[in-house]
Amino acid sequence: MIPFSYSKPQSLSQAVASHAGHGSDRGSWAADYFAGGTDMMQLMHDRVRNPERIIDITALPGLDRIQVDEQSMHLGALVRMSDAACHPHVVKNYRVVAEALLASASPQVRNLATLGGNLLQRTRCGYFRDAVLPCNKRLPGSGCPAVGGQNAGLAILGTSEHCIATYAGDFANALLVVDAKLHIAGAAGTRTIPVSDLHRRPGQTPHLETQLHPGELIVAIEFPATTGGWRSHYLKVRERTSFAFALASVAVALDLAADGTVQDARIAVGGVATTPWRLPLVEQALRGRKLDAELCRKAASLAATGAVPQTQNAFKVPLLQRVVARGLEETGGLA
C-alpha cells in the first residue's frame, strides 16, 4: 500500500481546510476524502490514486442521518448502502433505489460503502485501473488504448474519441428517475444540484468527471416525496447472476393511470454510457400511451439511439434495447 498521512476531521470546515492544504494541483497525489474506503482502497492498491493524505470523513456530524418528512427524504452522504437499501421508507416509496443498491457489489461491501462514495466511484475500465498503461482519464494526454482495444465492457453512449469508459455505478441511475438532488458543501459555501448535473461526459477532458470543485463534499441526497401512481423498478443484467458490474441495466419510473396509460415516464440506463444516462426518446414514446408489451418493445427500440459501438461491444446495442423492454414490462406488471 502506498504511504500516506491520515487525518480525521470532526467538522465539515476542518475537512475542507484539510483538503485545501494538500493541493488539488497535484494530480493523483492530492488529498482524498475517505468514507467507506471500498473504492479508495482498490485505487490506492493499484496506484491509480496516490494521495499524500487521506481525510477520513466518517466522523463528520450528521452525515450518516436519514430524515423523512411529508415533502421529502434526505439520505446523508455517509449512510451505508446496506442501511439505505433496507430502510422501510426507501423500500416502500423508492423501490428502484432499494433494488439498485441491492443489485450492487456484495453484502460485505455494502456494509462499508457509503452513498456519497458510491456516486463518486471511478470507472472499472481496465486501462484506467492499470497504472502502467496510458489513459486520458488518469493521465491527461496519454491516449486511450481502449479505443480499438479491450472494450467489451465499455460504453456505447456519451463517448468521445478521448474516452469510452463506462460509468459503472447502479445507485446514480436510480437517483435520476426519482429526480433526486445533491447537497454539496465546500470552501465557497453550500449549494444544491440535481443528480443529473453531477457527472460530466468525457469530451476533450475525460479526467474531469464531475461538477464538484476540488475539496467539495457531498453532504446529503434529497428525494422529493413520491406521489400517486408512480411505480419504479431496477433491472440489471450481468455476466453472472450476482456480485458483478452491469453489462446493461435500467432504472424505470412510470406514472401509470388506472387504465394503464403512461402519464409520465423517467428511464435511465447503466453499464452502457459514460455517465448515468437518461433516455428522453424512450420516455417520450411512452407518454400518453397505454402500456402493453408492444409499446414496451417499440419504445425500447429507441434506447440505443446515437450509440457508437466499439470493436468488441456492439452486443450492447440489442442487449440494451432488450433490457429496457424487459424493465418496462416488469415495472408495468406485464412480465
Binding site: S28, M41, S106, P107, Q108, A131, V132, C135, L139
Partner: protein
C-alpha cells in the same frame, strides 16, 4: 524498499518496456514514480483494537495498514485469510460491530472503539474457540463437508453467520444471493448452502 514495492516497481518498468509504442524519453504512464513516494515518511500511530472481546494494544503501526494485515501480521490471528486483497473474494470477511465486512478494504486505524469478531472468536465470546466449542455453523461446515482446500472457509463461515443473523437464509436462492460476496475456488457451494440453511432452520425453530 521492501520486496512488494520492489516487485511493483519492477513490474511497472517491465510492462512499460513491453508496450510496443513506448520509446525512450516518452512520458511515463506510471504517475507518480513509486520511488519518489518511497522517500515519504509513513505516518504511524499507536492505538488499540477490540478483537473477540479482548483489547489489543498495537505498537506504532503505519496508518496505511489494512485491518486484514493488522490481524494476520501484527496480531497473528491468521484464521482470517487474504485472497485478492481487493474486496472481490470474501476470504477476509470479519464482523465489525456485528456487521460483516471485508477486512482487506478497511484501514486498521479506523476500527478503534469497534467490536471486531474473527473466526477465532466465533466459538466462544472470549475469543478462545476450541474444537470442542465450535459455533453451530462451524460444526455444520464439518458435517456437510462444506469445503475442500479450506482457504475460503473462515470467510464463508463469518459471512454465513451474518447472513443467518440478518434473516437472509430463508431459501437456497436467498443464501446464494446473500453469500455472493464469498467465492470458493474449489466450488463447494452446494454444501456451503446446505450448511447455512441447516443452521438457519435450527436457529429459527429454537
Amino acid at each position: 524498499m521492501n520486496r512488494r514495492n520492489f516487485l511493483a516497481t519492477a513490474l511497472a518498468a517491465g510492462s512499460a518496456m513491453l508496450t510496443p509504442e513506448s520509446s525512450a524519453g516518452e512520458m511515463s504512464h506510471f504517475e507518480p514514480p513509486t520511488a519518489a513516494r518511497e522517500a515519504d515518511a509513513v505516518q504511524t500511530m499507536t492505538f488499540a483494537l477490540t478483537i473477540n472481546g479482548a483489547e489489543h494494544q498495537l505498537p506504532e503501526t503505519p496508518v496505511n495498514t489494512t485491518l486484514l494485515d493488522c490481524l494476520r501480521d501484527s496480531l497473528h490471528l491468521t484464521g482470517t485469510k487474504k485472497g485478492c486483497g481487493l474486496g472481490q473474494c470474501g476470504a477476509c470477511t470479519v464482523l465489525v460491530d456485528g456487521r460483516r465486512v471485508k477486512s482487506c478494504l478497511c484501514l486498521a486505524v479506523m476500527q478503534q472503539g469497534k467490536q471486531i469478531t474473527t473466526i477465532e472468536g466465533l466459538g466462544r465470546p472470549e475469543g478462545l474457540g476450541t474444537p470442542e466449542e465450535l459455533h453451530p455453523l462451524q460444526a455444520a461446515f464439518i458435517e456437510h463437508d462444506a469445503f475442500q482446500c479450506g482457504y475460503c472457509t473462515s470467510g464463508q463461515i463469518m459471512s454465513g453467520v451474518a447472513c443467518i443473523h440478518e434473516g437472509h437464509a430463508g431459501s437456497d436462492d436467498e443464501v446464494r444471493e446473500w453469500m455472493s460476496g464469498n467465492l470458493c475456488r474449489c466450488g463447494a457451494y452446494t454444501n456451503i448452502v446446505a450448511a447455512v440453511r441447516e443452521v438457519a432452520r435450527r436457529s429459527a425453530s429454537a
